[in-house]
């Protein structure tokens, strides 16, 4: 279970606070969506969960399976099962996708006390997982994300997720830049990972994605706090009314 308690976050070296008391619980087996206007702190929340250094938690706590993750470096969080699918996946020129994936998977396996995979074992797993996402393994011989289209980058993020098998998945604006076909492939990939021991937090600006990844709960984040929580119908309501209501609350 993910528990976020009264989380206050500011940008390190700056005074502006972005999150001002976020409270949120995502039980295992559930998919929750976070929606909100631009600048509401959605991506900040995603980064803080993954442990990015440029943010400073000034108050509150993040617990995953009962343990605070705040003092853990990102790789330690990953070992505990945390995974962030980036809004803008990074390009790593010079590192072949396969090398990157294998290094990541074996680092995690080592930390989790599992034996590292041999090359044939890894390739078998990779082919199987990539196939489901309609990713050509040949493409993964190229440097990580370099020259990939927006859709290819997002699919490659979901492939990482499928391969690393995290238990806490955070998807940051996974739908941005995707056409309808790519969206369906990505959503299918995510849905296939829904499992009783896995919690998911889907961050999005638009309702569209939630037609494909149907959430158990929807939270509205605005002005650094969760303003409202509801069922999947809340997303449809927001699609009609927009975020104006929450913007005015802030003013």
């Amino acid at each position: 279970m993910l528990e976020i308690r009264n989380l206050h976050v500011k940008i390190a070296d700056e005074d502006t606070s972005i999150l001002k008391g976020v409270d949120l619980v995502v039980p295992k087996g559930e998919v929750h969506a976070i929606m909100g206007p631009n600048g509401s702190g959605k991506s900040t929340l995603a980064y803080v969960l993954a442990g990015r250094e440029d943010y400073e938690v000034t108050e509150g706590d993040i617990l995953w399976n009962g343990d605070s993750v705040l003092e853990m470096p990102p790789d330690e969080r990953a070992a505990r099962g945390v995974f962030l699918a980036f809004q803008y996946p990074m390009e790593i020129p010079g590192v072949a996708g396969i090398t990157f994936l294998r290094t990541a998977l074996n680092s995690l396996r080592k930390k989790r006390g599992q034996p590292e995979l041999t090359t044939p074992e890894f390739m078998k797993l990779l082919r199987e997982r990539a196939g489901k996402l309609e990713i050509d393994v040949e493409m993964l011989k190229r440097p990580v994300n370099v020259g990939f289209s927006g859709g290819e980058k997002k699919r490659s993020e979901i492939l990482q997720m499928a391969l690393l098998e995290p238990t806490m998945c955070v998807l940051d604006e996974t739908d941005s830049g995707l056409d309808i076909d790519a969206l369906r492939i990505v959503a299918d990939g995510v849905n296939a990972l829904r499992a009783p021991d896995r919690a998911m937090l889907v961050i999005t600006h638009y309702q569209r994605l939630l037609n494909y990844i149907v959430p158990d709960k929807v939270h509205v984040l605005a002005n650094g706090r969760i303003q409202r929580t509801g069922g999947k119908e809340l997303a449809l309501e927001l699609e009609r009314s927009g975020y104006a209501e929450f913007a005015s609350k802030a003013a």
Binding site: P74, A78, M90, I92, G94
Partner: protein, 445 residues
């Protein structure tokens, strides 16, 4: 005023000149060369091309010239010295301490590829040819003058028109023996029309080689029309060695010359490459990786002469600098008045692992024609913290994440080498250096 080292070099010539290979005309050529050097002295910072590498100040001592190779390393020792290149399937020419080693060299060469040790060629050739073998195409260059004066051995390679040897030619220059010395080697390579060949030069230290040593290595390479040549140079010599390397390439019409240098090991290295387009439609692809830590100093100086129209040159250099290391890239592109439609681009990038490291990059464009495309760029940066975060968020610990990113940075230049086996060996050599020298920063806050 001559420095101690300059005086010692000139004097040592008198001591060894009789032992150097070559007949009367060669001796005369060598005498002229040492005369040129005596007049020039070691290059120093007041000479523009040597602004960042003040050899007069840096080279405090001269070592005795190696004239007769005494070491007889075993195949196993050579393999150990070659490291990742040991497995390369190639026609091999081995020079140990400046002397051709027949035992370790390939006995047979394929048709169209003729290789002769320079020492033997000098001893056997008629005067005129011998003279040509030691004469530099840039006789006024102090390093090349020294090379002409002292060169003992190396490879004279001739590739016939249209020949395409089935394997690369690997020229190994190994340092051996416990005593400090100055080794001078020289290759003279001519490549026939339409030939396709890959040459690899490896500068390595054999087990037990002295910590200090000097090497001066020159390669003269003339590339025939429409030939395609890959010329890789890997210097992974160890210890406080000084390497002074010069390459002169003449690129024929329609020919492609792809050169790559990996420098990872010597304490002080200067790699100078002079490439001239001799015919239209030539292409030069020059790239390299320099890795330096501690007080190491690696200088890459390129001069590309677009002497004729319609040629293309590309340069990509990447360096990783740690400690108080210094990396230098000087890239000059000359476009002569008639050389219209010339296309020249260069890029030099350094990854700075320490605040005390220094990267000096000096592009120079001398363009005398009006219809040309030329560009240059240079960057120096630290490892991108966002990329480190990305890797760590996938479970890769910080030290490995940093190592992976450094590898990826140099990998982009190594990618330029088309031969897969050579590329893999170069990457492995770079990785070996990186794992030894760049201690990860544990627990960086």
């Amino acid at each position: 005023m001559k420095t101690k080292a300059e005086a010692a070099i000139t004097e040592s010539f008198e001591a060894v000149s009789r032992q150097l290979p070559g007949g009367a005309a060669v001796r005369e050529e060598r005498r002229n060369a040492i005369g040129t050097f005596a007049a020039l002295g070691l290059p120093h910072r007041r000479i523009e091309e040597w602004k960042y590498t003040d050899l007069r100040a840096l080279l405090k001592e001269a070592f005795a010239p190696a004239v007769r190779g005494a070491a007889a390393p075993s195949e196993a020792e050579l393999q150990a010295a070659l490291g990742p290149l040991a497995g390369l399937d190639a026609y091999r020419v081995v020079v140990v301490d400046g002397a051709f080693d027949e035992r370790l060299s390939s006995a047979r060469m394929p048709e169209g590829l003729a290789v002769k040790p320079l020492g033997e060629a000098l001893a056997q050739s008629p005067d005129r040819i011998g003279e040509g073998l030691v004469r530099s195409s840039r006789p006024g260059d102090a390093l090349e003058a020294l090379n002409s004066a002292f060169a003992t051995d190396g490879a004279v390679v001739r590739i016939a028109d249209g020949a395409a040897p089935d394997k690369p030619v690997l020229l190994v220059f190994a340092r051996a023996g416990g005593e400090r010395k100055a080794v001078t080697t020289r290759n003279v390579i001519s490549i026939g029309k339409g030939a396709v060949v890959t040459l690899v030069e490896a500068f390595v230290a054999l087990p037990g080689a002295a910590k200090e040593g000097h090497s001066n290595a020159a390669t003269e390479i003339v590339i025939g029309e429409d030939a395609a040549v890959t010329h890789v140079k890997a210097n992974v010599d160890t210890g406080k060695t000084v390497h002074l390397g010069s390459a002169n390439a003449r690129i024929g019409a329609g020919a492609a010359y792809r050169a790559f240098q990996l420098t990872a090991g010597p304490g002080l290295a200067r790699n100078q490459i002079f490439a001239t387009f001799a015919g239209e439609g030539g292409r030069l692809d020059c790239s390299g990786v320099f890795l330096a830590a501690g007080d190491e100093h690696i200088d890459t100086t390129l001069v590309v002469d677009h002497a004729v129209p319609g040629c293309e040159s590309r340069e990509l250099y990447k360096g990783v600098l740690d400690g108080r290391a210094r990396g230098i890239f000087q890239g000059k592109v000359i476009v002569r008045p008639d050389a219209q439609k010339s296309d020249g681009k260069q890029m030099a990038q350094a990854l700075m692992l320490s605040p005390d490291a220094e990267f000096d990059s000096k592009p120079e464009l001398e363009i005398y024609a009006d219809d040309v495309v030329c560009g240059h760029g240079s960057t120096s940066a630290e490892i991108d913290p966002e990329l480190v975060f990305y890797c760590m968020s996938r479970g890769i610990p910080e030290p490995q994440a940093r190592a992976l990113l450094i590898e990826s940075f140099v990998g982009e230049a190594i990618e330029k080498v088309e031969d897969e086996a050579i590329r893999a060996a170069l990457m492995a050599m770079a990785r070996e250096w990186l794992s030894k020298r760049t201690a990860p920063e544990p627990g960086r806050a």
